[in-house]
Subunit: 146 residues, 2 copies
DNA sequence: GCTTGACCTAAACCAAAGTTTAGATTGTAT
DNA sequence: ATACAATCTAAACTTTGGTTTAGGTCAAGC
């Protein structure tokens, strides 16, 4: 497979693929005699991991580190395993943060739904917290502490 | 409250707070006669939203758009409500992506745990998919389709 | 042999989200 | 009055993750 086909399969632009190659994320990609990159399934699998790590917030330089470990062989198995443990933690933290954001978003939805019904923000803005519906007050308290 | 105290309360650096102010995220912050910013609880509440929107992936320019709507009054209630609906969708999509990443991470944890036990990556690399444990094969199939 | 679309590199460019720097001002405490 | 920490601005700088541009090659079909 050539770079154009890989681009279509992964959704990454051709220039991004070349950028990743240049920065060491795609290690020992074959080349034709003329210098054209020849990708195989192993490269697609590497890209799957790269995309996974990238979308879960890992930096290019850290992904390169991992790829370097992969090339280095069995002596780095432990490092790679620990990286995946760490990345699991990172992802779970991100999900927690997103769920917390979601609570504030939900509260604001109620706030603006109320304002919309009233035709004005005034009433809901001046409303006493104790007069919020129970579930909304709970959201408010969870998102407005400390 | 002055900028240093707000910095401590929000965890944002002083320069970031000034950057946000400059880019219109903190609208009509009071100033002392000498020009020093005086923050109040309303500003802290605004920062709560700013942080929530930022950590859930919204760009500074989009957050500014929202703040501009807030300043514009009741005519923009609908736009603001819709923004919160849209942001809920965005967050849920992000969580989905993270959960998908988590599956590949889990698969790789098993892969490297096995390699670690064996002392080499060789066996597990060459292993037939049908010989994966059931739960792991499921993870593999969920993350290696299309 | 020639054309043509896909590919190549290096280097410049870009946007976002800040951070740093330099030099000036404020305002509180002694 | 003076010292001092905290604040101010404008402008330059930084990092990350690419994209764009310019000027070539490659290789398949006619």
């Amino acid at each position: 497979m050539q770079i154009g086909e890989i681009s279509k399969k992964t959704g990454l632009s051709i220039s991004t693929l070349r950028y990743y190659d240049k920065h060491g994320l795609l290690q020992n990609i074959d080349r034709s005699n003329g210098g054209i990159r020849k990708f195989d399934d192993k490269d697609l699998e590497a890209l799957r991991i790269i995309l996974c790590l990238k979308t879960s917030g890992m930096k290019i330089s850290e992904i390169k580190q991992f790829m370097d470990w992969c090339s280095k062989g069995d002596t780095t198995i432990d490092k790679r395993l620990n990286m995946f443990y760490q990345q699991e933690k990172n992802i779970n933290e991100q999900i927690d943060i997103l769920n917390k954001s979601l609570k504030l978003i939900k509260f604001k939805q109620w706030y603006y739904e109320t304002a919309k019904r009233d035709g004005t923000e005034k009433n809901v803005k001046d409303m006493n917290i104790d007069d919020y519906p129970d579930d909304i007050r709970k959201l408010y308290e969870e998102t407005h502490t400390n």
